[in-house]
């Protein structure tokens, strides 16, 4: 196990994917991811004047339509083995990961109690595509179908390097945020935002943001440690 990981580190280093990235660069990277989401929400709110509460389907669609290209294009630049895998291929992997991840997320949500029915279909679909953008798509773009890497990121949650952190932490943040976001749903406050998937989406986006901040802080901290 450990041997395998060492081998893996060697291989990544030899392929020079994860070059030592400057702090400024890390900052820009994190900011783009975070700002993309904020921008998407701003556009939905101000340009199309829809909000999650009054039109969740439309808003979620707008957000993922804006966020997905940013994430795919950005993370494809950091693909593993760039020599063997072209940028276009990485983008293709990301695009393929979008529906696949959406299905996984939708099944997960339904297993945890999300409502099933034709009237909920478009809401669930858009929500799960957005969740896919947060969780599956970056990994798909960077690592493709490398089983070891997927397991390392999701099953063991052992990121190394700023890109790993940027993939791993926001994805876990989004999932955990969505999980906590579901808590107010059974309460009888009779608020419109208690509907599926509004508070869950809020939770996911908040968790994603927290994940980005955490990943940025940790990567700075690690760099600081290394320097010392």
């Amino acid at each position: 196990m450990e041997k395998a990981e060492k081998k893996l580190k060697l291989s990544t280093n030899s392929n020079s994917t994860l070059l030592p990235i400057s702090s400024l660069y890390t900052f820009i990277l994190h900011t783009i991811c975070g700002l993309g989401l904020a921008l998407a929400y701003w556009v939905a709110h101000n340009v199309y004047s829809v909000s999650l509460v009054n039109d969740p389907t439309q808003t979620l669609r707008l957000i993922w339509v804006i966020e997905a290209p940013i994430v795919i294009l950005l993370f494809s630049g950091f693909r593993q083995h760039p020599n063997q895998c072209s940028y276009i291929k990485a983008v293709g992997r990301g695009l393929l990961g979008l529906p696949a991840g959406a299905i996984v997320n939708a099944l997960g949500a339904i297993a945890l109690g999300a409502p099933v029915g034709i009237q909920h279909f478009s809401k669930t679909a858009n929500w799960s595509i957005l969740m896919s953008v947060f969780t599956i798509v970056p990994t798909a773009s960077v690592f493709g179908s490398s089983w070891i890497e997927w397991r390392r990121i999701f099953a063991h949650a052992k990121p190394n390097g700023p890109i790993d952190l940027l993939i791993c932490l926001p994805a876990h943040g989004a999932v955990i945020g969505a999980w906590f976001g579901a808590w107010p749903m059974p309460l009888d406050w009779e608020r419109p935002w208690q509907e599926w998937p509004i508070c869950v989406s809020f939770g996911a986006m908040a968790g994603y943001m927290v994940g980005i901040v955490a990943s940025f802080s940790i990567s700075l901290f690690q760099k600081h440690l290394k320097k010392e």
Partner: protein, 910 residues
């Protein structure tokens, strides 16, 4: 280092359970006082003395309401003062707003908002009272108190299963009996309380607090028509309770208890503003009953308001006091069985009882003395009246004597019903906390011991500290989440969501752990071992996914809860499609349940023949259940017909004897042979036999329980029963295929959680209304509360019991594992390492919930929903505790029996 011995463990667990039972019963007795109340309805007999039953045997055979009315009139000797009553109930109007407080008039702003009422009060046309309401100051109990006069306890509410109808003797019922026409306008709560009493009604739903207009409008649009007829009438304006400054109510503070009572249209009123007296809210009942010539409701604790009777003659006033006294005396007799006062009968005392001074002694003596005093004075007054030499002083002293008795009795009754003995509650809670601490520390100690044994064995492999896994942390986190969620009334109402959410999340974490363990396999050596590992992972993951899917189906089967019951779910859809859909589902469930039982039996290797015998013996009850489903259920034939009852009884008998027979016989006849490929050093007769017997008995238990539930549950619940059973089997399968062996307490906790999620998946909620009362009479030929209660319990706790019974299968696997690993095994060691967890984990988890919920109930005792949400939930918590005791007892005694039987066999073989 101290290690737990088997005996010490057992004794401590037993002690903890006993302490818990004592604590719980003390708390329940303290929090829900069971007040002995009289059953039935007051009738003509309430006009006779309770102390000296008159010789003449009244044989009242009255049919028509008019006859009854005139009979009452004749018996009571009181001419009804009014023949129409308008009872106007205002929700949450504090008397302070109208009458002011402590002799100060109401603030100007309130006086201005009810100008007409104020003018009536000023002119003395209306008489106002502060009507003290008893807690809980919540609408429903207050309405009941006003019409029945009784100070409500909770348990009597809880025992009226799925009806909100007021079954106690009450004014509305009494009026209805003498043929009154009653009209109800306003909140539909009244219609729920008295569904059949009103000739005309127009109720509206007024749940939304801020909508103060809807109900008022609904009332006022009818008033013109209803009031056209003018004759003698009394308008009574009352409020059910007061409220605090920010509009809350439920507690016992002055503001909340300060309800209003306003009598308008009394015939003989003082033409001057009254000093506003304080009465009790329950006093409304006897006053109205006596004014309108009906018997006082049987459990009324109120005393009549003397001012209202001023228009009557002196004799009639005394008679009214006498009737009230008799009624209260009867109620006192129900609570104080020694109170009889029969010594006063027959002996005609010549003096008017002026020899009796102050009354003292014990409670019975005081009441008796007060009663005799009043009765004697009354008698004397009456004899004087015949002679025509009435004195005003005699009359006054009689009234005073009656009032003495009435006030003492009423105060004693209401104090008894509402007082919560703090010491008892604290003692009970302390007991529960203590037992919880004992159980948890036992668990901790046990875990330490098991870890130590494991470390001894594997010290060469890894000596580092045990790292906590996600699933282990989450099993504990679930406890925290549940305890926290119990503080919210809406999360209690919708508890089914939490259990499903938590259980599914836990299984996702187990799935994640399974994925983690693939990697550790991948890098190890290749070949045959690898292939086996991959197969094991595949089985493990697919069974987890199966559990997740079936869990979701179970969640969707019944919407459950309180607030969103109208949402579509599978059961509603099936029911709307009719029996044509339900019956096939039922039959398929039965078939699959039997098949999966046989399939699980086939895993038992030792002797195919033995297993086949056991399997076949269950075929017969299965066929009987099949016959019952085909012939009787949901096919129009009333299930209470004699044949159906007989068949059900046969099924009970067959299932019972089969299960009992198998369980008793299995340890004796279980073939024991060393499995091939294992050295006989580790395995011996005893140990193989134990593991196999426990597996077989566990399966027999759950198949029997499943078949019984298919019979008892509503037809719609047959598929969930099947899913639950298979889900538990799949969960066992996944943990037996997982590779770093999961901790046993995690396994047990997971199954326990599955059982609790299943409890709600069967349509149960935390309200008493969802208890399946219909199934409780199945196969019971004569009405028996005990039998029906047991059946009801079995139906309601089907899922947790199934989970507990299935622990035996887990136990069997565990004893196999500890056999393989341990060098020298003795019975005590085996018992400690296998049986302790399946008993301690459910008991420990439940004790945490019990303590947490008891604390919450105490904190919430003044909450608005304490009677509608928190108290019913507490009933369920208590019943779950009982369920856990029973399940653990069955598991433990089965294991003890199996161990001792095989021990005996081993001795004989040697």
């Amino acid at each position: 280092m101290s290690t737990l011995t088997c005996t010490k463990l057992t004794l401590l667990t037993l002690a903890a359970v006993v302490i818990q039972i004592i604590g719980l019963s003390l708390f329940v007795l303290g929090f829900f006082p069971v007040k002995p109340a009289l059953s039935g309805v007051s009738g003509p007999e309430s006009f006779t003395s309770p102390v000296c039953p008159s010789a003449e045997d009244h044989n009242f055979t009255i049919q028509s309401p008019d006859e009854l009315k005139s009979l009452y009139l004749e018996l009571s000797n009181i001419s009804p003062s009014y023949d129409r009553l308008i009872l106007m109930v205002v929700d949450g109007l504090p008397a302070e707003f109208v009458l002011g407080r402590d002799d100060r008039p109401a603030p100007e702003i309130f006086r201005k908002s009810m100008p007409y009422t104020q003018s009536l009060l000023d002119r003395g046309v209306a008489t106002g009272y502060h009507a003290k309401a008893a807690p809980p100051t919540v609408t429903m109990p207050r309405l009941k108190a006003m019409v029945s006069g009784s100070v409500g306890g909770f348990l009597d509410v809880a025992l009226n299963f799925n009806t909100q109808e007021l079954l106690d003797d009450n004014l509305i019922g009494q009026f209805f009996k003498i043929g009154w026409k009653m009209v109800m306008l306003g909140d539909e709560t009244w219609l729920k309380l008295f569904p059949r009493s009103f000739t005309r009604h127009d109720g509206v739903h007024s749940f939304f607090v801020k909508d103060t207009v809807q109900v008022d409008h609904n009332v006022s649009r009818h008033l013109d028509a209803e009031l056209l007829m003018i004759d003698w009438k009394l308008l009574m304006l009352v409020s059910d309770h007061g409220m605090t400054e920010n509009g809350n109510h439920g507690g016992a503070s002055y503001e909340e208890a300060d309800a209003l009572m306003l009598l308008i249209g009394l015939r003989d009123y003082d033409r001057r503003p009254s000093t506003h007296k304080t009465v009790n809210q329950v006093d409304i009942t006897p006053t109205l009953a006596l004014l309108f010539g009906v018997p006082i409701p049987i459990n009324s604790a109120g005393i009549l308001i003397a001012d209202t009777l001023k228009s009557l003659e002196a004799a009639q006033q005394l008679r009214a006091l006498e009737l009230n006294t008799w009624q209260l005396f009867r109620l006192l007799q129900a609570q104080l069985p020694d109170l009889s006062c029969s010594s006063s009968c027959g002996v005609d005392k010549d003096g008017p009882g002026n020899d009796i001074g102050e009354c003292d002694g014990n409670t019975e003596e005081i009441f008796c003395c007060l009663y005799i005093k009043a009765a004697d004075l009354h008698k004397a007054w009456k004899s004087c009246q015949v002679l025509g030499s009435n004195k005003v002083e005699d009359y006054r002293s009689t009234v005073l004597a009656y009032n003495d008795f009435l006030r003492t009795a009423s105060e004693w009754l209401s104090r008894r019903a509402t007082n919560k003995p703090v010491g008892l509650l604290a003692f009970g809670l302390t007991g529960m906390i203590l037992s919880s601490l004992i159980l948890l520390s036992l668990l901790y100690q046990l875990e330490q011991d098991v870890c130590m044994i494991k470390e001894d064995r594997t010290s060469h492999f890894s000596s580092r500290m045990h790292k906590w896994h996600m699933d282990e942390i989450f099993v504990m986190a679930i406890v925290c989440f549940l305890v926290l969620s119990m503080g919210s009334s809406s999360l209690i109402e919708e508890e089914q969501y939490i259990w499903h959410f938590m259980t599914s999340t836990l299984y996702f974490l187990l799935l994640r752990k399974a994925v983690q363990s693939i990697s550790s396999v991948n890098t190890q050596d290749q070949g045959n071992f690898m292939e086996r590992q991959i197969k094991r992972r595949f089985i493990q993951m697919s069974s987890i996914i199966f559990v997740l899917i079936s869990g979701r189906i179970l969640r969707g089967w019944h919407q459950g809860g309180v607030n969103w019951t109208n949402f579509p779910d599978i059961s509603k859809w099936l029911e709307s499609e009719g029996t044509a859909y339900i019956k096939p589902v039922q039959l398929v469930s039965l078939l699959l349940l039997t098949t999966s039982g046989f399939y699980a039996l086939s895993f038992l290797r030792p002797s195919k023949r033995f297993v086949i015998v056991v399997g076949l013996s269950f075929l017969f009850p299965a066929i009987l259940v099949l016959q019952y489903i085909i012939n009787y259920q949901s096919s129009g034939v009333p299930a209470s017909s004699n044949n159906a009852t007989l068949l059900v009884q046969i099924i009970y008998a067959t299932l019972g004897t089969t299960t009992f027979g198998i369980v008793v016989a299995v340890p004796w006849f279980m073939p024991v042979r060393n499995p091939k490929g294992c050295s006989s050093h580790h395995y011996n007769v005893l140990h193989v036999g134990i593991a196999d017997s426990l597996y077989l008995i566990g399966l027999v238990y759950i198949i029997c329980w499943g078949l019984l539930q298919l019979l008892l549950q509503q037809p719609i619940n047959s598929a969930p029963i099947l899913l639950l059973l298979v889900q538990i089997l799949a969960s066992m399968c996944s943990s037996s295929n997982s590779d770093p062996e999961p901790k046993q307490w995690v396994e047990v906790a997971v199954v326990y959680y599955l059982g609790m999620a299943g409890h709600f998946a069967l349509g149960n909620t935390n309200t008493i209304a969802t208890i399946d009362v219909a199934g409780a009479y199945m196969g019971v030929s004569s009405h028996s509360t005990v039998l029906s209660g047991i059946l009801m319990f079995m139906i309601t706790y089907a899922a947790p019991m199934l989970a507990l019974l299935s622990m035996l299968i887990n136990l069997s696997r565990r004893s196999k594992i500890s056999l393989v690993n341990a060098q020298d095994v003795d019975l005590h060691f085996l018992l400690k390492t296998t049986l302790a967890y399946p008993c301690l984990v459910p008991l420990g988890l439940n004790s945490i919930f019990l303590v947490a919920y008891t604390t919450i109930l105490l904190l919430m005792r003044n909450h608005l929903f304490v009677w509608s949400v928190f108290s019913p939930k507490y009933m369920y918590v208590c019943a779950t505790t009982a369920c856990i005791y029973i399940g653990v007892l069955i598991v433990a005694s089965t294991v003890f029996y199996t161990y001792s039987t095989l021990g005996l066999r081993k001795m004989w073989i040697r």
